[in-house]
Symmetry: D2
Subunit: 281 residues, 4 copies
């Protein structure tokens, strides 16, 4: 009995170690931002072997105080490996940009994903990062195979990108997003960041959108996900109701949880499956 | 306050009622079986509007004592509507064949999905049902967009179809499948059915397969799913170990549950997501 | 190999068939309602053997158009058996009252769980049903071991019972509850029922409660659960926000789903676990 | 609108910050081990206020290479806070012992939870740690309110403690436990550790247990939980079958996952609920 068990063990091990995904980094010398920004890129198992294949792409955004390495630190690689290996999502490339300020130790310019005076991050993203990354890696590069997701400030960024650039994304997945309320300036939150949130408070901005804008936004597949103990829950619930009342289909999930990495690492597989089903053929 | 709430309610209602999937039936006059067999077919929301679109297909098999209506009685339509509307699976056509005997009240020929003397169901399925259905409906009709799933005797049938006809299916999802053990004849189980199980006891048959057969079987994406209180669990665990030991990737899930519709209706969304991710582009 | 498998199968079967729960009915000749009301009662595995034990109790309410048999028809027995056997909830007695009108074919008096002119169901429940049932069966019968749950109209009833009689219940679990909006009269909804909803629209009534009432309500453990495609979702979200803003702890969950039995049968195990953790020692 | 939203945000924040659990450490000067061992102890929200209350206790064991701080590093505090606050488990004290060698940098004596020559950890646990901890904190301290759980080597330890000392525990929850197979000596695994596994290989040891031992073991509530990509899965499946075949009730779950912290942090809430339902009244 023990002998056969040992053999199984060895074989299981080889199976579970077969996933050869890797996370690489790319440096982009940004003319728009005036500095070099590093981006982390998850390449799925098989990327190096199937050199004739192109892949869909998910842009995965970090929250306030994070960097391009935050999702990696949360353990996204293991979670993605298993979920892809399980066949519950399509093989995809996952790009994790960096929205922190120039100096990693100086958050002075950490102002979210929108354009701000002197720090046009939104322009950087669409004019420099997306073209650079999609050329560097074998990415299909059309709307039908591009999605965006993010947590907290990155959930806000996902809303921003997919509402103002809906022609870029087939799906948007917002985790614990900051969608309503403008907090005060604090150690963590610069005046610039607070001002950005005031300008793009989506529960206020969304209801003002024109029918033409809404028609485009409706083409994106939306998913809102927030824990019931999250202090930002109200924004998610309000925007969801607003979207539905405007006839824009959206998914909503509220699990047990608060504003932390434990919630987000459990949301990630759901996001992978959701964006996968939107990668049309 | 109440006014706005009423408006929301009305709108929500219209959203949730928007799914216009339907289940139709098709009668196939089978030369092979010598009788007419009715098949239920789930057509997803949008099928009637998007007349230029073709769809992937899932063959969904019932268990011992069931008919083409069993999955419908379990509530598959609601579950599929919601899961597809949630974007957690791709729009697909779901075909539910009937493996009961000629006379609905006479189970004498309810012998599973394999060929039996005088009742070549397997031939009927591949030579008559699949061609008829895939011509009648807008089905893509290639291996990359065809999957099979089933419960109990239908899980056995899914294993049978995907192991002996792997060129037909990209994915196979086995729920509470009868994969080991040969029960005695009883009120429910005819001698013919028991004999069929003896011939195709997969925990015995699978280890004898040739390397060439295994190479083909490995191209199918496999998912085994069984409750921890299911009296058939042992077959699932054994076949899973055998498949892994032969280097054939497979997923395994064991949730809380026994051999009943409550377990299967919870497995169905997982199956939809799993086969969707295998519908390649 | 096959021999040992057969043995396992037999043993598994005996394990899964070991649960000897049963559902019995009790007829209560109600002076208050002026008719006989039948109640279904789930007695857990072990009830007949452990004759020295008393059990906690969950009152489980049906929705509009239902009867004391509705939860049984949904399959509550299997789901409860498995969840209790799994040790994920405490053994408990589950009482399923009947809030349908006198004549089962005449819904004229199906007016929810509140007192109405000529149909004082709330009085019946607290003055007749609870005492009768808790005497008939070995129920602990104190607040610490009593909970209420229900779906749709029964979710409304659960809110009603636990807000106006908080001294009776340690926990309340509301599934897809009607908590806001007053629908028009229809085939299903009598004038009396609509009038009752108008009187007890909780998103309007709750904010008017006194601090003293709120202090009692806060002693109940609250759980609100509703599908994201449910046309009644807005009431759940609004009441949850109102409760939190009044400092009353509550849980919220939103899964994928609409207003149907598939959602509720998946909520039931969560409810069992939640009320179990509130059955203090 | 924005005003009310801001108010909600503030209130939500106060709710989610209300949990005042804390993790403290206790040093035990062990005569048996000949050194000081530090233990981490999770005290739930309310412990400091409800000074008249005693609590049930869960012993939560780390894996090979871990210490008393490993579960803390995995984020157990947040996960437990939320799950307890959600009312899905009872308030409990969670004790995290340290089974690493004397010198934190020297793993030479990291030999699991059993007695080894010169390192009688099992004796230390039952004769010194349990009495010391249960005296230091307000722990109920009887079998009905004591449980054990652990991951990998700690899953092995949980099996060891609950099989050889069943009078101590009402529940045992094994995560990704090493239950079969004896690996070779390596950088991580000392000769002593390998020898211990050889002596206590449960798929070999368990079938040899006497009826008297089995009768005691059957009084413990068992739960086995392992990922389908875990290289140790086979041991879990085999022991589960062995236990069932001996008539010992046990739960089994197999989710998607491998041998890592992502799997265990998702198992933890299930474990809390399971052991809670076993804390009898």
């Amino acid at each position: 009995m023990r002998k056969s068990i040992l053999i199984f063990s060895v074989i299981f091990l080889s199976v579970s170690m077969a996933a050869k995904s890797r996370i690489v980094t790319v440096d982009i010398d940004s003319r728009i931002l005036g500095c070099v920004k590093t981006t982390s890129v998850y390449l799925p198992d098989g990327y190096d072997e199937n050199t004739g294949d192109k892949y869909p792409v998910l842009y995965l955004l970090h929250g306030l105080g994070g960097t391009h390495e935050t999702w990696k630190e949360y353990g996204m690689q293991t979670v993605c490996d298993l979920h892809l290996a399980a066949g519950l999502a399509k093989p995809m490339i996952i790009v994790m940009p960096d929205a922190s300020g120039v100096n990693p130790n100086h958050r002075g310019r950490n102002s979210g994903y929108a354009n701000r005076p002197g720090w046009n991050y939104e322009d950087f993203f669409f004019q420099e990062l997306v073209p650079a990354v999609e050329q560097e890696f074998r990415i299909q590069g059309d709307r039908e195979h591009r999605a965006v997701a993010g947590l907290s400030m990155g959930g806000h960024g996902s809303a921003l990108f997919a509402m103002y650039h809906p022609e870029y994304f087939s799906s948007a997945y917002l985790m614990s997003a900051r969608l309503s309320g403008v907090p005060g300036v604090s150690d963590d939150r610069t005046e610039d960041y607070v001002e950005m949130l005031r300008e793009y408070e989506f529960t206020r901005v969304f209801p003002q959108m024109s029918d033409k804008e809404l028609a485009e936004i409706a083409k994106v597949r939306w998913f809102l996900d927030c824990g019931d103990d999250d202090y930002l829950l109200d924004g998610t619930l309000t925007l969801f109701s607003q979207m539905r009342s405007k006839g824009i289909p959206a998914e909503l999930r509220v699990r047990n949880g608060a504003h932390n990495r434990h919630y987000w690492i459990e949301s990630l597989p759901v996001a992978l499956t959701f964006v996968s089903a939107g990668f049309t053929e």
